[in-house]
């Protein structure tokens, strides 16, 4: 039997706290970091891609995030979820990128980086998706960030809560209110 370390990704007890606790032995045995890396490299990349709209920039920023996380792992303190920690690094890297470049990416660029399924072939459905797209683009940054974390990065409510310093329930309520408002706007605009 060969083992390179704990297999944790699919454990039921593979909660956010488990990840944080894998970070503890991963501090000492860097090979264990791979599990955390494989778990989060895609959500972090998608989250950054949604922000910057450019795959090369997203790759570069993603690289910076995980190199920083790997470097800082010995200093990781189990205070929240590991996802909140690594996404805090990602948010800082994105912020630094925009401040250095002095520009914000256009939502059109984000649209280009998105995947458009074949469903767009249906006119009505495509129309509604485009409308939703526009509503999302018009959201204030804070609400857009919630959409990004929930639907692009696919973080759990608890993980988002830890990242934005809110309870899971408060996060659920905030997102629920946002969705309710989007729903109403969709319905109103189509009357």
């Amino acid at each position: 039997m060969t083992d390179s370390g704990p297999i944790v990704a699919n454990d039921p007890a593979w909660t956010a706290e488990d990840e944080a606790d894998l970070a503890l032995p991963a501090r000492r045995t860097p090979a264990l970091f791979k599990k955390l890396y494989l778990r989060w490299v895609s959500p972090v990349y998608r989250y950054l891609l949604h922000q910057v709209g450019d795959t090369s920039v997203a790759e570069d920023l993603t690289s910076q995030v995980f190199l920083t996380a790997f470097e800082q792992l010995p200093r990781y303190r189990h205070r929240g979820t590991f996802a909140a920690w690594v996404f805090t690094i990602a948010r800082n890297k994105a912020r630094d990128h925009f401040r250095q470049s002095g520009r914000q990416v256009s939502m059109d660029a984000i649209a280009d980086a998105a995947i458009r399924p074949d469903l767009l072939g249906e006119i009505i459905h495509a129309d509604r998706l485009n409308h939703l797209d526009e509503l999302i683009r018009a959201l204030p940054e804070g609400e857009l960030e919630m959409i990004r974390l929930r639907y692009v990065a696919e973080l759990s409510l608890a993980e988002i809560g830890a990242l934005v310093h809110r309870s899971e329930e408060a996060t659920r309520k905030a997102i629920s209110r946002l969705l309710a408002r989007l729903q109403r706007q969709m319905e109103d605009d189509h009357e």
Binding site: D11, R46, Q72, Q100, R172
Partner: protein, 764 residues
């Protein structure tokens, strides 16, 4: 109850926001890049230490500046709405609840066991604004979970089914149960993450709800009106806290605002918002942690209550919400909350600077230049300290490191005539030791002589301090008596400073610690003499180690498994154990218990490295130790979904096992438990990692011996003579402190010569 329209919207949101996955080559290439880094590579100066070095430097520089801006602002004036005071209550472990409709709780815990798996609903709190449910499972075999990452197990949320058929869905927090409904069925369709047909599904447990007992601890939450400017008039009920007038910002809005205050059994929780006042285009950057001092200037230790969520501040100013919990015994009021930071702003958006650089005709991976070129930009001097190629599977560019004057935060870098396909940066200029970096990536790397353009220089303001003051409402609260000491408590935060250093000769022996190796960026296991002096680096790169009882051998986790080294002679063997950690030697040194295997369970191996055998069929165990006669191994098995551990003892010969008791107040996932050599006591880390509990091996007499002594306990190891070694993050936050405490007598000594996370202790 699910909303079909909402489900459709949810699906649409997923569609419109769907982003491409990263290229597999990128993912693999980045991992290769990461593993090519030195193990535990750290910046040359740890970030936290940089901030500490920066702050004194900042203050020194600030004295040279004509005006050092300090904004001192009040929290308030604060007003209390008496009616609101009755609405909200704080329940430890649950959070802030609406108690206007009364509070109900679970009448009694409910359990069911099917095919060796036990589901228990351990508690419920019902209020007008929600239902907080706690449940856990035990006995789920590792084989019930997928081994492959691309196979997902069950993910169907639990819910409460009311008598009328209504479903209240949610994970942990559900909608409120209507008043008058005293029963419900807890439905768990499947145990999260498990594969079909591996463990029982469709669990249903009947629950009964009753009014909360009078002894339920519900603390009043005092809502405070938002801070207002001077001259504003608001009714001030008698319970209004005092506020000390001080300079107000021009906007009239206080940057430090308290929104709620909770009076706990031994202190307070202050909840509020930090809103720095910044102009458009600027933001505040807080450096370091906020501090609380009392009126005597004494620092007030505080913690972050895990069950309270600070307000969300998202206005782009750099502000944030906060919640601080502290003990009030012996405090002098008012308290001062202090936030430290700087404002960051563009120096001159139009300013640019250019310089020439020659990369040569064929730059190679790992190539580096040290031009030490000084560049003037927007009135500041930048020094280009180094340029390096950044060429790899997914990268094709350069990285630049700049040294800055203390005012500079960052600048944008571009190579004229070459469009970067990506870029980034790091560091914070004067906040991070006077360095910042920038990297540029290209489809085709620029070569030869180029012109580099710098722009968008951002600068840091003079150091800023935002302060607020607060006092409790009534004078009686300000004269709170010292609390009655808990029996068995040896050290608390206020007594840690008084622990004396061990006198020479009191302790002879060795400590095995995990720490950064002197003069390197590597970490590893170091054997240190308890009195200082001799130390020996045993292993680099790994942090799991255990000393044999006689101190002559080291068992440690290596990339290829567990290795045993003779410390004096250096001979080493690779054991049969694969991927193991958390090693514990038996009292006679003939065996080692450890965690290993794909199920992360408890194993035992002979001291000569042979005959590895699994003694636990559970998962995610944590070894506690050996019985004094070496017949049994004690270990802890976590409950799934609840922060609790089942303590179990297994006979290593017969594999007969017995469950002893459940630890409910330990660390949720990293118990760090240790069994005393006499087999009578188990020491373990507290839930918040700031203290240590002791409990007898029959589960009785649980008590704290160390309470809130530090930001984090990092190691717990018993020595002979009833001495318990505890390593902890020292008050500065940068290093480790080792304390030996004898719980029976509460004698305690610090060992200042020993630094690092304690992995082993050999007392002669």
């Amino acid at each position: 109850m699910s909303d079909p329209a909402r489900s459709i919207l949810d699906e649409k949101l997923r569609t419109v926001t769907q982003m491409r996955e990263p290229r597999p080559e990128f993912v693999e290439g980045l991992w290769a890049h990461i593993t090519a880094q030195p193990a535990s590579a750290l910046p040359s100066v740890p970030e936290r230490r940089r901030r500490r070095l920066a702050r004194p430097a900042w203050y020194a520089i600030g004295l040279l500046v004509v005006s050092l801006v300090i904004l001192t602002l009040v929290i308030g004036p604060q007003r209390v709405f008496a009616a609101v005071r009755e609405l909200l209550g704080y329940i430890p472990g649950v959070g802030i609840v609406d108690q206007s409709g009364g509070i109900r709780v679970l009448a009694e815990p409910v359990s069911a066991t099917r095919d060796g798996v036990t589901l228990t609903v351990t508690g419920a709190t019902l209020t007008a604004d929600g239902t907080h449910l706690q449940y856990r499972t035990f006995g789920i075999p590792r084989s019930a979970y997928p081994l492959s990452e691309d196979v997902s197990g069950c993910y169907e949320p639990e819910y409460l089914r009311l008598p009328d058929g209504t479903k209240l869905e949610g994970r942990g927090e559900m909608p409120p149960v209507p008043a008058g409904v005293a029963e419900a069925v807890f439905v768990l369709p499947c145990i999260g993450g498990t594969l079909p047909d591996t463990v029982p599904e469709d669990w249903e447990l009947p629950l009964r709800f009753v009014p909360a007992p009078e002894e339920l601890e519900v603390m009043p939450v005092v809502e405070l009106s938002p801070s207002i400017g001077p001259g504003a008039e608001t009714a001030a009920p008698a319970a209004a806290p005092e506020a000390t007038a001080a300079t107000q910002p021009s906007s009239g809005r206080s940057p430090v605002t308290l929104t709620q205050v909770i009076e706990t059994s031994d202190g307070y929780i202050l909840i509020g918002e930090f809103h720095p006042e910044v102009e458009p285009g600027r933001w505040a950057q807080v450096t370091g942690v906020p501090l609380i001092h009392d009126a005597d200037g004494e620092k007030v230790p505080y913690s972050f209550p895990l069950d309270i969520q600070p307000p969300d501040v998202n206005d782009g100013s750099g502000g944030f919400g906060f919640a601080f919990q502290f003990r009030s015994a012996g405090l002098a009021y008012p308290l001062t909350l202090t936030f430290y930071g700087v404002n960051v702003s563009p120096a001159d958006p139009e300013a640019t600077a250019e310089f020439e650089f020659d990369f040569g005709p064929d730059p190679q991976p790992g190539q580096e230049w040290t031009p030490n070129l000084e560049i003037e930009l927007a009135g500041h001097t930048l020094t280009l300290a180094s340029v390096a190629t950044d060429i790899g599977p997914s990268r094709n560019g350069y990285s630049f490191e700049f040294l800055t004057d203390p005012r500079v935060y960052s600048a944008a870098v571009e190579i004229l005539g070459h469009t970067a396909s990506g870029g980034g940066g790091g560091g914070g200029g004067g906040l991070t030791g006077g360095k910042f970096s920038a990297s540029l990536a290209y489809e085709r790397i620029p070569t030869g002589r180029v012109t580099i353009l710098l722009s968008n220089l951002t600068v840091i303001s003079d150091p800023l301090t935002w302060e607020g003051q607060w006092s409790p409402a009534s004078p009686a609260d300000q004269e709170r008596a010292e609390p009655t000491p808990q029996p068995g408590l040896c050290l608390a935060s206020e007594s840690l400073d008084q622990v004396p250093a061990a006198p020479p000769g009191l302790f002879r022996g060795l400590a095995l610690v995990y720490r950064q190796l002197e003069g390197t960026e590597d970490w590893g296991l170091v054997l240190q003499d308890l009195e200082g002096g001799d130390e020996q680096v045993l292993v680099r790169g790994t942090g799991w180690g255990a000393l044999s009882p006689d101190g002559s051998q080291l068992a440690y986790s290596a990339a290829d498994g567990i290795r045993i080294r003779d410390i004096a002679g250096g001979q080493e063997i690779l054991t049969e154990a694969v991927g193991g950690y958390d090693m514990h030697w038996s009292p006679d040194g003939s065996q080692i218990a450890y965690i290993g295997g794909s199920s992360i369970s408890t194993w035992v191996i002979n001291g000569d490295g042979t005959r590895a055998r699994q003694i636990s069929d559970q998962s995610y165990d944590a070894v506690i130790g050996w019985s004094p006669d070496g017949a049994e191994v004690y270990f802890a098995i976590p409950f799934t979904g609840g922060a609790a551990w089942q303590v179990r003892a297994v006979n290593t010969t017969t594999l007969a096992w017995r469950d002893l008791f459940v630890i409910e107040n330990g660390s949720a996932k990293s118990l760090s438990a240790a069994l005393s050599p006499d087999g009578k006591w188990i020491a373990y880390r507290s839930r918040d990692h700031t203290g240590v509990y002791l409990v007898r091996t029959n589960g009785e007499e649980a008590h704290q011996v160390l309470e809130k002594v530090t930001q984090g306990i990092s190691g717990i190891v018993w020595g002979r003579g009833g001495w318990l070694g505890v390593s902890m993050i020292d008050p500065s936050g940068d290093d480790r402190l080792l304390v030996l405490v004898q719980p029976e007598t509460c004698l305690a000594y610090a060992l200042p010569a020993v630094r690092g996370d304690l992995e082993g202790l050999h007392l002669e």
